[in-house]
């Protein structure tokens, strides 16, 4: 069900369409995520975090190196990967339940089963009563929960979250972090969480990977030894939490000075 993920010596060079300049986004990047583990990736903006996720999801290939899922090289997009961005990416012309069904439409299952699975997922997200509403009728937090429902309904082996909370207000963010933490742990799914919120990285994950500025590469990675990650709020109260955040802060700060 859940998969392990490994990045081996990934380098990604973009060629700018207009100027023809080459941009090194990621440089010799390696890290791995065990099955069922939640790893956060932090780093300054523009260091190639989203680029990594796009390569893991198979949207484009790395220039050098390889991405392995369960030891198998990623060569294209695969339906076992769930994908979520800062933007909810809900289709405005579809009702919420139809949006959740979106990812199931390429699977060979009946319409009735699709609807049933979507409704089940919406119930878990406490959104069942909004099934027939349209995205614009929901708050930002509800929309992001609907997006998580769409991501989880396909029963992915691995989910990739690219700053999913960064567009939300502080209070909604806290509630949603806890909700996500529980849901993801229940599903037992492997997860990569990209964030630039250091506190979020510490309270949500089993391990943190810290990247340098562009071209991004791993400068440090360490496990987070706090309480159960289903309760991020309780974790943030632990005294060790501050130490981890400080450690990340120093790492990133040093990189800034060097740049």
């Amino acid at each position: 069900m859940t998969s392990s993920l490994e990045l081996k010596g990934i380098t990604k060079v973009f060629t700018d369409r207009k100027t023809g300049h080459q941009v090194r986004a990621v440089e010799d990047m390696s890290f791995s995520v065990a099955a069922g583990e939640l790893v956060s990736v932090v780093g300054p903006s523009g260091c190639g975090k989203s680029t990594i996720l796009n390569m893991v999801s198979g949207l484009y290939a790395p220039t050098e190196g390889e991405v392995l899922i369960d030891g198998e090289k990623v060569v294209g997009t695969r339906p076992e990967v769930g994908f979520m961005l800062q933007k909810d990416l809900l289709l405005p012309w579809r009702s919420i339940v139809k949006n959740v069904e979106f990812g199931l439409e390429e699977k060979k299952i009946s319409k009735a089963e699709r609807r049933e699975r979507a409704m089940l997922e919406l119930e878990r997200m406490k959104l069942a009563e909004f099934a027939d509403k349209y995205p614009h009728q929901l708050s930002g937090g509800m929309r992001q929960r609907a997006a998580l429902a769409r991501t989880l309904v396909i029963e992915p082996d691995i989910i990739l979250l690219d700053e999913p909370f960064s567009a939300l207000d502080a209070q909604t963010k806290l509630v949603l972090q806890r909700h996500f933490a529980r849901t993801i742990a229940e599903a037992g799914v492997t997860c990569v969480l990209i964030t630039h919120d250091l506190n979020e990285a510490v309270i949500m994950s089993d391990r943190v990977v810290c990247m340098s500025g562009r071209p991004g590469t791993v400068v440090d990675e360490f496990p987070i030894e706090l309480g159960n990650r289903t309760d991020p709020l309780a974790r943030s109260m632990e005294s060790k939490c501050g130490n981890y955040v400080k450690r990340l802060f120093d790492l990133l700060h040093l990189e800034d000075q060097a740049a």
Binding site: G58, L59, G141, V175, R178, L233
Partner: protein, 287 residues
């Protein structure tokens, strides 16, 4: 905490939009009716005043009716046209050509827009020519079409198709170029193929632009037919304009213009009504 929040979440929205929601439907109603009672009264009142000025001012200034026929002259002329000049046939001819030209031009424009939107190379190669054709005054083709196809309804139909075609093509093409890449990527991650992405992401994303094009097309369609009929042929409201001009029957010209406007307005509002239904999910900004 999560539970209280999820229970609470719809609540502030619900209580906030209790009066808010009412206001929205109220405004929606106002929009369809064109205003509340005082506004409607003012609109009708203004119409009556304009008609009264039209009726009484020109005679008072001593303007002859072959320069400015009065409102009642025009109404009387309507009666005469209907009885003696087969007004209904001319009206229907113009209406059919406008509708047919609009539908054909719209379909062709949308089809070409989507096709060019799918292929970067084609779009790059063709865009200078499209730009040139878009700038070329389409109505100027009317005499050419008459030389080619004769004095029948084909030239006016062609002018209409041509004039409707471009704004729709350009709008659709523009929307295809600005589709949210992240939505397309999401569909790709779900292993959807090119055709499915087109159907499920690109076409729905393009609808607001398509309708903007169709609204422009609806107004242009009437211009296309009119020019086609002015230049050649012996049917349609455009023909009545040249016919009335030849007879120095100004009221006939006025009446033809009024009916052409009616067709244009009807076409425009028909498109707007369909748009409102299809794009119901868009948040409408109400003033």
């Amino acid at each position: 905490m999560a539970d209280t929040q999820t229970k609470l979440a719809p609540d502030p929205k619900g209580s906030g939009s209790g009066p808010g929601r009412q206001a929205t439907t109220f405004l929606g109603l106002r929009n369809t009716l064109g205003g509340n009672q005082t506004e409607i009264a003012a609109i009708i009142g203004l119409g009556v005043i304009v008609i009264a000025i039209w009726e009484f001012l020109p005679p008072a200034l001593g303007l002859p009716r072959y320069i400015i026929p009065t409102f009642s002259d025009c109404m009387a002329e309507f009666g005469r046209l209907a009885a003696r000049e087969d007004l209904l046939r001319h009206f229907m001819s113009t209406l059919t050509s406008a509708l047919l030209g609009f539908v054909l031009g719209g379909l062709l424009g949308a089809a070409c827009g989507y096709l060019l939107g799918m292929s970067r190379l084609m779009e790059r190669v063709l865009s200078p020519y499209i730009l040139a054709l878009q700038i070329a005054p389409k109505v100027a083709f009317a005499p050419l079409f008459i030389m080619w196809f004769g004095y029948n309804s084909i030239p006016k139909l062609l002018v209409t198709v041509l004039i409707v075609f471009f704004p729709i093509l350009v709008n659709v093409l523009q929307s295809m170029k600005t589709v949210d890449r992240d939505l397309v990527n999401l569909a790709r991650v779900y292993s959807m193929n090119r055709w499915t992405i087109f159907r499920k992401i690109e076409v729905p994303s393009s609808l607001p632009n398509l309708f903007a094009g169709l609204r422009i097309g609806a107004t242009l369609a009437v211009i296309g037919v009119t020019v086609g009929e002015l230049v050649g042929g012996n049917t349609g409201l455009g023909f009545l304009i040249t016919y009335g001009e030849g007879q120095a029957n100004t009221a006939m010209v006025f009446d033809a213009i009024i009916l052409l406007t009616v067709i244009g307005v009807a076409l425009y509002f028909a498109v707007a009504a369909v748009e409102k239904r299809v794009l119901h999910y868009l948040v409408r900004e109400e003033h």
